[in-house]
Symmetry: C2
Subunit: 665 residues, 2 copies
């Protein structure tokens, strides 16, 4: 990659010159400005909402840009990507190659966890046109003496301009121009239409009518965990092993080998802050809490403090630091819940009454979804009517910064869709400006455009509809929407198989086999996936008729037998190991669905660009019956004929065999 200094174009300079204004009626100035766009550059992909939002990429992974570039008439053109980290001087250039029908594609690989920007340049390939013209005429037996002289002059002009290429290139150009000056036609033709001269002119020749795309686009580059992570969620207070004793951070430390043994790399906790007493919820979300009920951790804030305090029974900041450090040592990152809910006892209510909504009778407004009321929760307001309350935004930002200062780099954000999109756009940018490695998971289960908007304004990962997509048709359609539409540039899903809020009907009714099915789907289809503890034990007892867990840990302390018979810990460990060892499972959009003639079996492949890592999955979605089917081995992906043989390794049962021919059962 070369660093290229692209001068600001006359268009930009002209616009900044006051003299321009006087010349508004002079068509010449307008012509000079408009004439700079001689090459058509359009249809840039990605370009999120016309450049309103950045696309997303990962440090060290190639980022692909596609674009239509074409000239007028029979003109040949060439094109390149310009990119840089925001704030850098000069641009780095990456080549674009013509693919089909005036479309071009190229990649660049950003190496910094930071905001980048990119655009496209195109130019008339005058040398290519000259080579084509002179070759055609020579083949047609027409005299080309004049054409050859024109070619010599093109080389001489490029040599004299000396704009591009290395010092050696420029010397070579000068020598070429000098050598051709007195050469005969035969020599001129042989040398100038040769590959060497072509390559030299491409590297160092003048770029005619260099045109720059009219927009610079942004690209946010995340660290790899944004796109590839395996999450495990647990309630720290349930980690004592005794339902009557509140778990502590040290209890969690004791569980770390278990979590790491399963192969996860992110350990995520629901809120760990003091819990309000006023209107505290009882077990199973009842309204009459008993004195020993622990309440919902989402009712944040009590006499002991609010969003920057720790629940006293979990242990203090020293214990928290021990946990962070121990987790890091074992290769686990701690993710915290960022829930802007306040209990009626939150210190902010007294400190900042103007941050809350008050009713005509002087009472505080509780959260509600009429006629439902959530009386253990009040919401901070971001606006007072039309007017924003900047202090609230800053305070919420400072909650992130506080926990970041305590070693947390990943936040799972509760219900972001009920707060202003503009707030997220601001706060994520604010935090990542100082801490680009911080990741934000959007916990919004709502309408598609809302979820997509949250991804666009900056969330690194997004919860998804995966839990409700269970049939072959639903899964295929959803995966194609996520990997084949514009969403692939902004929205990185995290396929949680269950959450404390979602005990999926499929899991309630499908037993151990169903848990295995969902595990394999989530961990192989998505780069990011997650499991809420208990899943590995196939725990799926619901409140009858609802998608909720019975005796949910949201409202009480539970104790679990982690060795419970029928658990699928081995399956989880195997899937996480496969994910670590097979690069094809570390990407998302690289899924391809293949034909298997049975609606109960989802058959798909995941592969790296170079196909050095290529995995096939045939997942029987029917948890109650074995299923068989005829299917097509995608031999064509390896350029093989339909009757070819291919060696295959079974990664579940660890043996190698051969498929001969495209059709198999």
């Amino acid at each position: 990659m070369k660093k290229t200094e692209i001068k600001s174009t006359p268009r930009r300079r002209a616009a900044a010159t006051p003299a321009r204004a006087q010349a508004a009626d002079d068509p010449t100035a307008i012509i000079v400005r408009m004439a700079e766009e001689r090459v058509a550059i359009e249809g840039v992909d990605p370009e999120i909402d016309g450049g309103r939002f950045p696309a997303k990429a990962i440090v060290g992974r190639p980022f692909e840009v596609e674009v239509d570039v074409f000239g007028e008439g029979h003109d040949m053109v060439d094109a390149a990507i310009l990119w840089r980290r925001v704030g850098e001087d000069g641009w780095t250039e990456a080549p674009l190659e013509a693919t089909d029908n005036q479309r071009w594609a190229g990649t660049f690989t950003p190496l910094a966890n930071a905001m980048h920007e990119y655009t496209v340049i195109g130019w008339r390939d005058v040398w290519g046109m000259w080579q084509s013209e002179v070759s055609k005429k020579q083949a047609a037996g027409v005299s080309i003496t004049l054409e050859l002289e024109e070619g010599v002059r093109l080389v001489a002009a490029s040599a004299q301009a000396g704009e591009r290429g290395t010092a050696d290139d420029r010397i070579a150009l000068t020598q070429l121009a000098a050598g051709m000056k007195a050469a005969d036609d035969g020599t001129r033709f042989a040398v100038l239409t040769g590959e060497e001269a072509g390559a030299l002119m491409r590297r160092a020749g003048h770029r005619a009518n260099l045109t720059r795309y009219h927009r610079v686009l942004r690209l946010w580059v995340d660290r790899p965990a944004a796109a590839f992570s395996a999450w495990y969620e647990l309630f720290p207070r349930s980690m004592s092993g005794d339902p009557h004793r509140h778990g502590t951070f040290d209890d969690v430390i004791a569980r770390l080998p278990y979590v790491r043994g399963l192969g996860f790399d992110v350990l995520y906790f629901p809120p760990i802050h003091p819990i309000g007493l006023t209107n505290r919820k009882g077990k199973n979300n009842t309204l009459d809490a008993q004195p020993d009920d622990v309440g919902s951790p989402y009712a944040i804030g009590a006499a002991e403090g609010g969003h920057d305090a720790l629940h006293p029974e979990l242990g203090g900041f020293e214990a928290f630091k021990r946990l962070i450090d121990a987790a890091r040592e074992q290769g686990l990152e701690i993710a915290l819940d960022y829930a802007l809910n306040c209990s009626p006892d939150h210190p902010w209510i007294k400190q900042h009454p103007d941050w809350f909504d008050w009713r005509p009778d002087g009472s505080i407004r509780y959260a509600e979804n009429p006629p439902k009321k959530y009386e253990d929760i009040v919401n901070v307001r971001f606006y007072d009517g039309d007017k924003v309350i900047p202090e609230v935004w800053i305070a919420q930002r400072d909650v992130f910064l506080f926990w970041i200062s305590h070693g947390v780099k990943i936040f799972r954000v509760d219900n972001p869709h009920t707060k202003a999109y503009a707030f997220w756009e601001w706060v994520i940018a604010e935090v990542q400006k100082q801490h680009p490695d911080v990741l934000f998971l959007s916990e919004a289960f709502t309408r598609p455009k809302v979820m997509h908007r949250l991804a666009k304004v900056g969330f690194s990962q997004s919860y998804s509809y995966f839990t409700w997509r269970t049939t072959k048709e639903e899964l295929t359609e959803y995966m194609l929407e996520l990997t084949r539409t514009e969403k692939r540039h902004t929205m990185r899903v995290n396929f949680f198989v269950n959450t404390p809020d979602i005990n999926p009907v499929y899991l309630q009714t499908s037993g151990r086999a169903g848990h295995q099915v969902r595990l394999v789907l989530a961990s192989s289809l998505a780069g990011n996936y997650g499991v809420y503890s208990g899943f590995e034990l196939c725990e799926a007892t619901p409140i009858p008729g609802r998608e909720e867990y019975l005796n949910s840990e949201k409202y009480e302390i539970r104790a679990w037998d982690w060795d419970r018979p029928g658990n699928i810990r081995d399956d989880i460990a195997r899937m996480n190991m496969l994910r670590q060892t097979h690069p094809a499972l570390q990407e998302f959009a690289n899924v391809e669905f293949y034909n298997m003639w049975n609606d109960n079996i989802l058959f798909y492949g995941k592969r790296t660009e170079d196909k050095s890592s290529f995995l096939l999955f045939a997942v029987n979605l029917d948890p109650h019956n074995g299923q068989g089917a005829d299917f097509e081995v995608p031999l064509w992906e390896f350029g093989l004929p339909d009757n070819a043989s291919i060696e295959v390794e079974d990664l579940v049962q660890n043996y190698t065999f051969t498929w001969s021919g495209k059709y198999q059962h």
Copy 2:
């Protein structure tokens, strides 16, 4: 429609204030700016290339805008279009209605042939949310005293703000607020949740968190002929009726009743300028012109003058004026060819040698497409290498202005794709700034993206691939591409059935029936269509094996028997009459394809939005055999059940009958 003064937002004001720069590190200023975008407004359609190009509309026809508008959480929102003619103060507002899945749609009807602009506003529908909340709670039997007081305060705040609605509305709001102040809960509920209060608040209430889309989009509004026109092309020099006598404008005047009798409204001539002598082409494009050969009219320029001169044998400017006036009297507009070709005898070559490309031996560069040479033509150059030549652009603009001053308002532009896109964007804007009623037809038969780009940079109409789309599948696919993709907002096709350059293979081999097929397709599928004279006589004699006419009028004077047996003049007149009398045929994107189980028959409907004009066409594409088929009567379009009866008029044979039931033969 109301005129609304939308104040420039603080964001814009802030950006213009130098004090802002100092406050770059103050998060408050950034928050205040970003917080203005509380309502999400995205996915505006049309928005051509992110606003880079204007969309197109027609004076007096509704222009539809679609957009995603949504708030946070359960917020209800409302939205509207703002539009105006560029240069007007203030905006006109047009309502948007929610359609489906957070998508909104609305229309406005521009009335001026001029550049317009539009954008979208959205706001939180606080009153709607209040009505919904209080109604739900009342239905649930919950106390709503506080909610009612909050409603009264909302009315009072709107009354006090007095921002919107008529003077009467504001008085009504004040009275409502006053009346509710002391009312009891029952009265408050009845009045405030009533329709009248809702309508008043919608008209005059405060719009909370009014958010404006971040981009203002342009819309070029043409006169109706841009979208609905029937063209007839003829060579004036062939109008004498004698192949040995050069036709004149007066001969053309004598032909006007014939053309108008066929029902056309645009009469288009290939170039009418002096024709060069140097390297003049002979009959059938031969290189050895005889002394009496008239040459190609595209070799423009001779001793008698160039692009602003008339071919001396056609008659002078007085004759030309007679023709323009006579045509206008008969309801015909004259369209001229705008071909930037120069013959080697063009006066510009001596006057402005720097406008042309010269070769190392001092010779002028002829047009060529190696190894083919076009030695009767040299091209003006728009650029000297990288540098634009503004004088050339201005001179080319002045050619348009010259003919406009002589009464011409429509130009068919020859091969625009071989000149710079930027030139067309500039020159069309320049001309339409002074003469917004001037129309430009792009004669580019080249790659799809190039043709689309020319439409985007400003061409009013575009030639199309229609001549090469002959099968049911090809026609359906092409029509869907033109009417269902972004192209419908920028590219208005003109379906020519033939041209002097294109004698389609289908017409060469299909006889009279084939000509009728192509006539019906072109005139019913497209708003703009065209015929090159001879088509009505079913003249299709080719140069064997080529798509060219034998003895083409491009190179010689022809004489025709306009009453030749087997002509289809009556069919043409009938189709043009149907187009004039049925509004459904005056639009383009209103086509719908229906099921008819025969691949030889294309079955489609055209209808107005309100379905008051609804035409069905079943076109047998097979010119050699009669075809029959089962088909579906689109009863569902009228909301009728499958067994309903519907009265139908046969517009070809002029009788009325009834279809009973959806399936017919």
